[in-house]
């Protein structure tokens, strides 16, 4: 199977996934609405009582974190779509076709990245409306967006892998609950420096924190940390973490898809 035909097959499957959203747009719309709600809850309800180490406006600190969190929460949608699909007859036919075993996962990845790009545009427009500003240069802002989608791309494969492996309702629900503590144990909402030392350590090494911190730096928003890896090497870590995740879960997903029992 050569790479060109695998890409062409992935493209065809991506168009199919996008067509699903066009016919039944509620799932992606709800995903975006949910993130907007989180921004409002944390920005206005809780934000007033949070003080940042190193100072700065909380809403400006929160927005880049929310972008990164939205990228992470996207893996739930990926996982659910893959889990539902793998139970349906159409997956059975995909597997009987002479196509690459990465075509279905890669098609999903393309569609979900497109969805997340739209979600980011909506979130950023919303952020600008309520006073968030991207203070960096154009190229820095573009790099930030690239890093966000890079995180989404890497976590997508975790979602695909989990969707293929945990096809039962129970497993999917467990992940839908677990993303919350994992998402919160990061620099998204509060600075790791304000946490107990061991929690702060975990939060600082959360891949979501790295991407959030890198975006804050590139958008010129308050960092919320005054030392440690997030203050000094955020962009580098935000590049490496997703690379590690993708290197692990791309092959695992392709293998899980091949092994999907009939």
């Amino acid at each position: 199977m050569n790479a060109t035909s695998a890409l062409r097959q992935s493209w065809i499957i991506m168009l199919r996934d996008l067509k699903h959203w066009q016919r039944e747009p509620w799932t992606p719309l709800f995903g975006i609405a949910f993130t907007i709600m989180l921004v409002l809850v944390f920005g206005y309800l809780f934000g007033g009582s949070i003080e940042l180490p190193g100072g700065g406006d909380y809403l400006s600190y929160l927005m880049p974190g929310m972008f990164a969190l939205a990228m992470m929460f996207g893996l739930e949608g990926t996982m659910t779509a893959i889990a539902n699909d793998s139970k349906k007859g159409v997956t059975h036919r995909f597997r009987s076709l002479p196509i690459s075993s990465v075509a279905v996962p890669l098609g999903r990845a393309g569609a979900d990245l497109a969805n997340s790009a739209v979600e980011l545009v909506v979130l950023m427009a919303g952020g600008l409306l309520i006073g968030w500003r991207a203070g960096g240069s154009w190229s820095e802002s573009l790099l930030a967006v690239g890093l966000l989608l890079w995180l989404r791309f890497a976590l997508l494969w975790l979602g695909i892998f989990l969707g293929l492996v945990l096809r039962g309702e129970g497993g999917v629900m467990a992940v839908q609950i677990l993303v919350w503590p994992i998402g919160f144990l990061s620099s998204v909402f509060v600075s790791p420096q304000d946490m107990p030392a061991w929690l702060g350590f975990l939060a600082q090494w959360n891949p979501v924190s790295a991407t959030a911190a890198a975006c804050r730096e590139l958008f010129g928003n308050p960092a919320g940390v005054t030392d440690g890896v997030l203050a000094e090497h955020a962009v580098a870590v935000a590049l490496v973490w997703p690379l590690v995740l993708a290197a692990v879960f791309v092959p695992l997903s392709a293998r899980a898809f091949r092994r999907l029992s009939a």
Binding site: H20, V90, I99, A262
Partner: protein
């Protein structure tokens, strides 16, 4: 030139846990024919199809599809087959036509070739009116026909139909039978699995009867029915006691197998080589001579249960493990 058989399997074995789903399965299907795999639930029919379609790896034995080895030439095998499974392998949200175009493109057709092939198949399988509606609005028979169309996109050498009419209403079954005949007319070799003897009889040139993962009989429908003791005469009687008397009266008058079901107060007579009508007349004469008036008399084909009673001395209702053990006798 002699055409190599498009399907050939020898000694296939596939183990799931402690049970062999296939236990020394052999099959040869000649080009352009319809071959039916007939057997009860759990006989290994679907496993046989899945191994031939490279969806399931075989543990032992060898099989060739269109000349390609199923163990080592997955891609070539997949390119030469169409597979229609038990549940419709379709995208519910896409339209019928969109499904066909998508599968055609995934098979490597250009978009315009996929479009024209889709239009041809929608026409051939009588789905033109429903072509631009979501598949989720289709009836069972329509889904199955679209499924068959999807299996035919690449003009495969062999089309596998796994229980194509299971779960369909009578109208849907008739539609699918019609579709299968059209497919055969296009020159495709068809391997279909079924639990229904009448379906195999109507559609197949040859039938392989299987149970517990192995073949118990093989032949044309006429050959098989002859070995199964031909048609059955079923006689309903007012009470169990009268049924016993009727059994005795028929058994002494006619030299054939008579089975008594006291619970349902009926007897079943195997027509044998003489043929159904002759047997029916003989049974009626014997009952008349004994002064017994039946509540009903029917001539019918053997049921699958009777086929298996005959071939394996075991009804189809036995559980999987028991039939699997039975396979080793």
């Amino acid at each position: 030139m002699t055409l190599a058989p498009p399907l050939k399997a020898r000694g296939l074995r596939k183990r799931y846990g402690g049970t062999y789903a296939l236990d020394g399965f052999d099959l040869t299907v000649s080009a352009g024919s319809v071959h039916a795999l007939l057997g009860p639930n759990g006989a290994g029919k679907s496993t046989a199809v899945h191994t031939l379609a490279t969806l399931t790896r075989i543990d032992e034995g060898e099989a060739r599809v269109a000349g390609f080895d199923v163990a080592t030439q997955h891609a070539q095998v997949r390119a030469s087959i169409g597979l229609v499974g038990q549940s419709a392998a379709l995208d519910e949200i896409l339209h019928g036509r969109e499904n066909l175009v998508m599968f055609g493109r995934l098979h490597g057709l250009t978009t315009s070739a996929a479009r024209s092939r889709a239009a041809e198949l929608l026409e051939a399988l009588d789905l033109v009116d429903a072509a631009d509606r979501k598949v989720s609005t289709y009836s069972g028979g329509m889904r199955r026909r679209l499924d068959i169309a999807a299996g035919l996109i690449t003009r495969p050498a062999v089309l596998f139909l796994d229980e194509p009419t299971t779960g369909l209403d009578p109208r849907g079954r008739a539609d699918v039978w019609d579709a299968v005949r059209r497919v055969v007319a296009l020159g495709t070799t068809v391997l279909l699995t079924t639990q229904y003897l009448d379906e195999a009889d109507r559609l197949a040139d040859r039938i392989t009867v299987m149970t517990a993962g192995r073949v118990v009989a093989e032949g044309s429908p006429a050959e098989l029915k002859a070995t199964l003791g031909g048609d059955r005469v079923l006689v309903g009687l007012p009470t169990a006691a009268v049924a016993v008397a009727a059994r005795d009266a028929v058994a002494t008058a006619v030299p054939v197998d008579v089975r008594l079901d006291e619970e349902r107060a009926e007897i079943v007579v195997e027509a044998g080589a003489a043929g159904g009508t002759a047997a029916l007349l003989a049974v009626v004469r014997a009952l008349d001579a004994a002064g017994i008036t039946p509540t009903q008399v029917q001539l019918r084909e053997p049921t699958l249960d009777e086929v298996f009673l005959h071939l394996t001395d075991r009804p189809t209702t036995s559980d999987r493990t028991a039939t699997a053990d039975g396979g080793h006798r």
